[in-house]
Amino acid sequence: MAAFFNTVLYEPLFNGLIYIYDILPWKDLGIAIIVLTLLIKLVLYLPSRSSIKSQKTLQETQPKLDAIKAKYKDNREEMGKQLMNFYKENKVNPFSSCLPLLIQLPILIALYRVFFGGLTTDSQTGILVTDQVQHLYGYLKDVYATTPINAMFLGFVDLAKKGNYILAFIAGGLQFMQGKMMMRRKPEIDTKGSKDEGKAAAMNRQMMYFMPVITVIFGIQFPAGLTLYWATSTLFQVGQQYLIFRDKKNKTGQPVVIDQK
């Protein structure tokens, strides 16, 4: 199982990272981490694109949704059924699917390990350790068995070193921004819903403040390269949300057929 994971996920991603590093005009592992992160995020984002667009449309039909929620607030089973019918009739599907999520998870775990691997160099020479070199394909293997990896991001941030407070706080700040953006988009439905929903909303608000704190704590514990990865991927989400919600004000009240399948 571990060997299978290595062959199918770890090695392609690891070679991707080193290849990007190799073709960069100036050798900088930090830039390679950013490029690979953005590429992977872009690929993983594609399946959820239509659902995010649908969410935007849904904000405009919010009053009707509220009515359904109020009507069936004591019967969650019936409420779910009615909501699903509403979505179907209006041809909106604000949801993502569980299957892509299950596929994404191993990819993200592999990516995390790849960045760890790329940072595991001999402290004296800066050359990748033998274990990692073995994962490389073709000419990369020959080159990086002897060539040191430059883990200095922009020449002054040591990505292999732990305890980079500045990067950790940047990652935490971005995380907060991302949560805040999402909360602002969150329709005010929970206030008049059932007790259960009120609790969920309170929980959500807590998480918005809690997640950035967790991010900072982990960001300090990990090598700076991983913190850089986390900051980049959160920045991607912030940008994605910004682009999607930007032209919200131009829309009119009628739901639009977005995703007819």
Binding site: S97, A200, M203
Partner: protein, 89 residues
């Protein structure tokens, strides 16, 4: 051996799986867990959600039959399906 105890033993795997599903829902689940705040309209396109479905199916049919039903459900929950109301029976 008293019947009650045999029952408990038979239901042990089922209860273990149910516990795992609950643990998932409280933590990683984008619908019920810590990251639910990122998905104001919910995540799963079906109702009940995939994890609720699994919880109910395993509770009712056991680990093997309920597990197969749940796996089929997750496969149904892909970008090409419409989603919607999809109860266990």
């Amino acid at each position: 051996m008293p019947k009650k105890r045999i029952n408990k033993l038979v239901l042990l795997p089922r209860r273990a799986v149910l516990l795992l599903v609950k643990a998932y829902q409280k933590t990683l689940s984008p619908d019920h867990g810590l990251f639910a705040y990122k998905h104001p309209y919910g995540y799963c396109k079906h109702f009940p959600t995939c994890s609720d479905y699994t919880f109910q199916a395993v509770g009712k049919y056991g680990v093997v039959k309920g597990g197969i039903k749940s796996a089929k459900r997750v496969l149904r929950c892909n970008p090409h399906s419409q989603g919607g109301y999809d109860p266990i029976d």
